[in-house]
């Protein structure tokens, strides 16, 4: 094409001061003319174009958020917290599925074998305990190094993840409990034990013992304790009666006090 936009017209167009009919002409021509597009480019602030490009590049490189992640962000949770939760091993779909299956089997055992609610009531409080241990287990936490190297890491990171794991565990157990053969107080009997054992795990993890060891010890003590209480009192579900509930509530409260008092311990060794 031999016709090209005159330089003064391009100047006016680039600065936004060209009148309408001429703008039509220039724009219709620009679509088809490489040379005039190049001429126009020299009249545009290069640093502005570079700045926009940085934005394009960042968005092209950014990993695509999953559907759950986008929903949580839409629900108003800050995106950095959401990313933190998404990288928590015990909040991933595979973990949730396996917990759901375990709880379902416990309920099934209660119904089929007629074992009362015992298998379920023993298992349900252990779900958040194991979940929190897994949330900080070094070999499977994809952001362990980041957590360990982040000054803000420690306490906040632990609490956010622990809270999320606890909420999810309670929600799953709550749904599973609806399937128990004899609904009634067993429907919620696992709730205080869940809080107590979770708190105990967090409190004990402020010592030099690692999170997985603490979780294992808590889980073993709990299982043995329930059976022992039942055997000593010679009464079904003795561990879940009023005295048991009060004891676990006390443990929960004491644990919170210990965790807050020893919060510095989380800063030193995230996920050890």
């Amino acid at each position: 094409m031999s016709w090209h936009v005159d330089e003064p017209i391009l100047d006016l167009y680039a600065s936004g001061t060209l009148g309408d009919p001429a703008v039509y002409s220039v724009e219709a021509h620009l679509v088809t003319c490489t040379r005039c597009r190049g001429e126009l480019s020299t009249r545009v602030d290069e640093s502005r174009l570079d700045r926009i490009w940085v934005g394009v590049r960042d968005r092209v490189d950014a990993p695509r958020a999953g559907i759950v992640e986008r929903l949580l962000v839409q629900a108003g949770i800050p995106s950095h917290v959401v990313r933190l939760l998404m990288t928590t091993p015990s909040l991933r779909p595979s973990w949730v599925v396996s917990v759901a299956v375990s709880l379902a089997f416990a309920v099934l055992a209660d119904r089929l074998v007629g074992a009362g609610a015992l298998p379920f009531l023993v298992l349900a409080p252990l779900v958040p305990v194991v979940g929190i241990a897994a949330a900080f287990a070094r070999p499977i936490d994809p952001v362990w190094e980041i957590g360990a190297a982040t000054p803000l890491g420690g306490f906040r990171l632990t609490m956010i993840r622990a809270a999320a794991v606890l909420v999810l565990s309670v929600a799953l157990a709550g749904v599973a409990a609806l399937g128990l053969p004899e609904p009634g107080w067993t429907l919620v009997a696992w709730l205080l034990p869940s809080l107590g054992l979770t708190g105990l795990t967090l409190a004990l993890s402020t010592t030099s013992a690692g999170m997985p060891n603490v979780a294992g010890a808590v889980a073993a003590t709990w299982s043995v304790g329930v059976v022992l209480a039942e055997w000593l009192a010679d009464q079904r579900l003795a561990a879940f009666d009023a005295r048991g509930q009060v004891l676990l509530a006390l443990i929960a409260v004491a644990s919170i006090v210990v965790v807050v008092a020893r919060r510095d311990a989380f800063e030193r060794r995230v996920g050890a």
Binding site: G16, T17, G19, P21, R48
Partner: protein
């Protein structure tokens, strides 16, 4: 911007390469087309920050949409089609934002002289149109928007776009007769 600009590759080649995940090709396409897109969008939206976001949106859409590019029409026209629709999207979300103000683009005396040389009677006829009618002509004829899209861009109902377009045609015909 002094890296390889791949002069041997046409725009269509670049889009094909982008469709295959070639991020460098996107950079080259950006260098060729971001400037005019920025200027052209600036003629339709008074907010520079919003225009910059739209340019970003557009090249991100090019990156994602390149595999679906079927090679119909010129690449610049394709890019413009994306850009103007992204602008409409953004404007709809920023309803309170200052919309394109056709009155802000009155031609200067100098323009009148230049236009007289270049467009003759047509320019005169266009110039005599009211700014509202010209804005509708620009959005539909030049930008290739549907009357609904033009309505969103200009902040008026699509029915109004249609009636203004009819009036603009009639006035132009009379002005050229």
């Amino acid at each position: 911007m002094d890296q390889a600009s791949r002069p041997s590759e046409s725009d269509a080649d670049l889009v094909t390469a982008i469709g295959g995940g070639d991020a460098l090709a996107l950079r080259v396409l950006y260098e060729r087309h971001a400037a005019w897109l920025l200027v052209r969008l600036s003629h339709r939206c008074a907010d520079p920050a919003l225009v910059e976001e739209v340019v970003q949106d557009t090249f991100l859409a090019v990156w994602k949409g390149a595999p679906h590019y079927r090679g119909e029409g010129e690449v610049p026209a394709w890019i413009w089609g994306i850009g103007i629709r992204r602008l409409i999207d953004r404007l709809r979300r920023h309803r309170a934002m200052a919309l394109f103000d056709p009155l802000a683009h009155e031609p200067s005396a100098e323009d009148h002289v230049l236009l007289g040389i270049e467009h003759g009677d047509l320019a005169g006829a266009l110039d005599r149109l009211s700014p509202e009618l010209r804005a509708v002509l620009q959005a539909t004829v030049l930008d290739g928007l549907t009357s609904r899209e033009a309505g969103r861009l200009l902040g008026i109902p699509s029915g109004t776009v249609k009636t203004r377009l009819m009036r603009a045609r009639r006035e132009l015909r009379e002005g050229l007769a």
